[in-house]
């Protein structure tokens, strides 16, 4: 995979997903050592190109790169200053001239990582683009579920919340269905995108029906900027109808786990209790994020080499 972009899960085949998850599992061991660093990417440069601030994802990539001994450079651009002086692709080309071995791109608009990848020699890893994809989040979610349940094939996963505006939802839908899970989405009708069934899921507007017998419940974050956006009446009504607590979780399987990409709006998507305690696995997700991103950097970072002859 060296030199290849990771722009989304939609076109990632099962074999590659499994390679990434398998590599991430091996990377987890490094996080348990006293010396949490291996020399693998010594002399390589990883650039965090974040057009939208995201401390969590950026830090996760930064730790991942540093644990592999890469030099990690954070390059934050505010979109407003960008549009004035130079075009998006100019920024990307400027960056490319500095010969990075991987560029991590985060942007609030769908498709930007793709456009940047089109002009860059270095491989691009999408760290979240608008409501399009967030492949590393989905991969770490899959790793978390795999390690909790021992499998993904045959599981039922319910994703709850603002599906229409969620890149996490899209990437997880592609990932879990590709690995043989059944995926359901649920939320108020204003939060379900048109023709969402075309993505291979069943859509529900009843939380109870959506949760019936599921193995995994994934709550999505309600973005603050949506609060006044007119697509739901109030936080109170949202948390009453789609917020999760122990009582509503009883519709799911008794051994169901609860996930959330973070940061949680406590008392909105998840009750305080569910945020902090089993069956929620939110901190495992965060921990797995580092190993997963180490795996990706290991597999991807580097400029295109001639294909290995062996």
């Amino acid at each position: 995979m060296i030199g290849q972009d990771l722009l989304g899960i939609e076109f990632l085949d099962r074999e590659k997903i499994e390679l990434i998850l398998d590599t991430a599992e091996k990377m987890q061991e490094i996080g348990t050592r006293d010396v949490k660093k291996v020399p693998t990417l010594r002399g390589r440069t990883v650039v965090n190109l974040f057009f939208e601030p995201s401390t969590r994802t950026q830090t996760s990539f930064e730790i991942a790169g540093k644990r592999l001994a890469a030099d990690v450079v954070n390059f934050s651009v505010s979109s407003s200053s960008l549009s004035k002086s130079e075009s998006l692709l100019d920024t990307a080309k400027t960056l490319d001239a500095m010969d990075p071995d991987a560029v991590i791109v985060r942007h609030k608009v769908a498709g930007v990582p793709q456009r940047i990848a089109d002009v860059l020699d270095a491989p691009v890893i999408n760290a979240g683009d608008g409501a399009h994809e967030h492949p590393t989040q989905a991969l770490l979610d899959m790793l978390t579920v795999y390690q909790e349940k021992g499998r993904i094939e045959g599981l039922t996963v319910a994703i709850i919340g603002d599906i229409a505006h969620s890149r996490v939802a899209r990437s997880n839908i592609y990932g879990f269905t590709r690995l043989g899970a059944e995926v359901r989405v649920a939320g108020p009708p204003t939060m379900l995108p048109p023709q969402v069934e075309a993505l291979g899921v069943k859509a529900y507007t009843s939380l109870r029906e959506a949760l019936d017998g599921v193995d995994v419940v994934m709550a999505l974050r309600i973005q603050n900027e949506r609060l006044g956006g007119g697509i739901f009446p109030s936080v109170r009504e949202y948390s009453a109808t789609f917020g999760l607590d122990r009582a509503k979780l009883r519709f799911a399987r008794p051994d169901a786990i609860v996930m959330h990409p973070g940061p949680v709006n406590r008392g909105v998507e998840l009750s305080h209790e569910l945020t902090d305690h089993r069956p929620s696995v939110i901190l495992d997700q965060v921990r797995n994020g580092v190993a997963l991103r180490m795996a990706l950097l290991y597999l991807i970072a580097g400029r295109n080499f001639p294909q290995d002859q062996e």
Binding site: A110, G111, A131, H132, P194
Partner: protein
């Protein structure tokens, strides 16, 4: 006296339903004779065997950016792109800087065009001042200065009371009001067709209903006022049905469709290439099918390109931030000729939708090859395949979804006022 003899081509003159192999003799700026085996001394000969000879194309909808945004296009480059695409007359929209809402701007455009452009250029003036959708423009003065129609294209007049008054008042100057139909509230921040693709790509969707609601409103206002309405760039099958009904009801409603809405679907937004971003957005295969059928049927009267040049750096931005619009003039024939290749439309009818019909809608000269008609002529090679490279083209901009694509059907020569202004292989010859 200058003479041009176009010899041996398939003559397609929709104004008299003429479709046969014949020669066409032009003297100075007029067609003088159509016939078999014509001879003429001292005439420049254009051999047109295997080619089509038709009235020059008329485009009711282009953006030539002058005055104000000459880095995108100007009347010279736009005029050259027009004749390279077989267009002898183009009508430029009012969203220039300053807006063409004042007779001085109209006059400026016409003066510059007369000097710079090999194609005829007809300004469409704004319907409301500064395109703000509030106060109507001085239509009489604008008409007097040379405006051929009125439109706030690019924007929609959202206030129905304002729109009603614009329509009422337009009857005074007997000119069509051209609408860009898009309900801004319903469109919200939508940039691609709402549906499977917007869901997949995570881009904000713009539903067909945003267009259809507005067309429905304005058709009712036409019923109320009796004015002439021309619907720009129809993009959905639902809009076609509304226009069909209006025509059946005897209302004075005409419509155009762009080559891109006839040929492309929202599937090509896949790679987030901003050259696929336009307003209204590309729709589904079903809409394309209905639009093509409507053009064949005549429910949609004509093809118009909505030629909308933008600089490379303006399009090299986020999909949501990129300006809407694509180039259209130089690729139009190569794109719509596919309908002839697929057997959907007869060559004569396609020529009607590109010349005779649009000329009639705005009462423009052209659209005929009859003796005495103005000698605006296009010679086309319908079987010639070529690869479009915007960098080699005549527009200043490059924002085309057909960049690098092979098209079948090429313009061989374009004549304006009896002068050869474009010839394949020789380029633009006048001005």
């Amino acid at each position: 006296m200058s003479r041009v003899l176009i010899r041996g081509g398939r003559l397609l003159d929709p104004s008299v339903d003429y479709d046969a192999v014949a020669d066409l003799l032009i003297e100075d700026d007029r067609v003088v004779e159509v016939g078999i085996g014509l001879e003429a001394e001292n005439a420049e000969i254009i051999e047109a065997k295997g080619k089509w000879v038709a009235p020059g194309f008329v485009d009711l909808h282009v953006h030539l950016r002058e005055p104000g945004q000459e880095y995108k296009e100007d009347l010279a480059s736009g005029g050259r792109a027009a004749v390279a695409g077989g267009f002898t007359s183009v009508c430029c929209m009012a969203n220039t800087d300053p807006v063409n809402d004042d007779p001085a701007v109209t006059q400026y455009i016409l003066d510059r065009a007369a000097k710079d452009s090999p194609a005829r250029i007809f300004p469409i003036a704004a319907a409301t001042r500064r395109l703000a959708g509030e106060l109507m423009t001085e239509m009489a003065a604008l008409k007097e200065a040379g405006a051929v129609a009125f439109s706030d294209d690019g924007k929609t007049i959202m206030d129905a009371w304002v729109m009603r008054n614009v329509l009422e008042y337009s009857k005074l100057v007997d000119a069509a009001v051209v609408i860009h139909a898009e309900d801004c509230g319903l469109r919200a921040d939508g940039v691609v067709n709402e549906g499977r693709m917007s869901t997949r790509l995570g881009l904000p969707g713009n539903p067909v209903e945003a267009e259809e609601i507005h067309i429905a409103r304005d058709i009712r206002l036409v019923r109320l006022t009796g004015a002439r309405l021309h619907v720009a760039h129809v993009s959905s099958g639902g809009s076609v049905e509304l226009i069909r009904q209006a025509k059946e009801d005897g209302l004075s409603v005409t419509a155009e469709v762009t080559p891109h809405h006839l040929a492309l679907t929202d599937e090509i937004t896949e790679g987030f290439d901003t050259s696929t971003k336009m307003a209204p957005p590309l729709r589904t295969a079903r809409d394309v099918e209905q639009l093509r059928a409507a053009l064949v049927e005549g429910v949609i009267d004509c093809v118009a390109t909505d030629h909308a040049p933008h600089a490379v750096y303006e399009k090299d931005v986020e999909y949501t931030a990129a300006p809407c619009g694509v180039l259209g003039l130089e690729t139009a024939f190569g794109v719509v000729n596919d309908m002839v290749q697929q057997g959907e439309i007869a060559p004569l009818e396609l020529m009607r939708r590109m010349s005779t019909a649009p000329a009639q809608i705005f009462d423009l000269a052209g659209g005929s090859l009859q003796s005495g008609a103005v000698a605006d002529v296009v010679v086309l090679d319908p079987e010639k395949s070529w690869v479009y490279d915007p960098a080699e083209g005549f527009s200043k901009s490059r924002n085309s979804p057909w960049a690098g694509e092979e098209l079948k059907g090429q313009v061989s020569a374009t004549l304006v006022d009896g002068r050869i202004v474009y010839q394949a292989g020789r380029g633009v010859l006048a001005r």
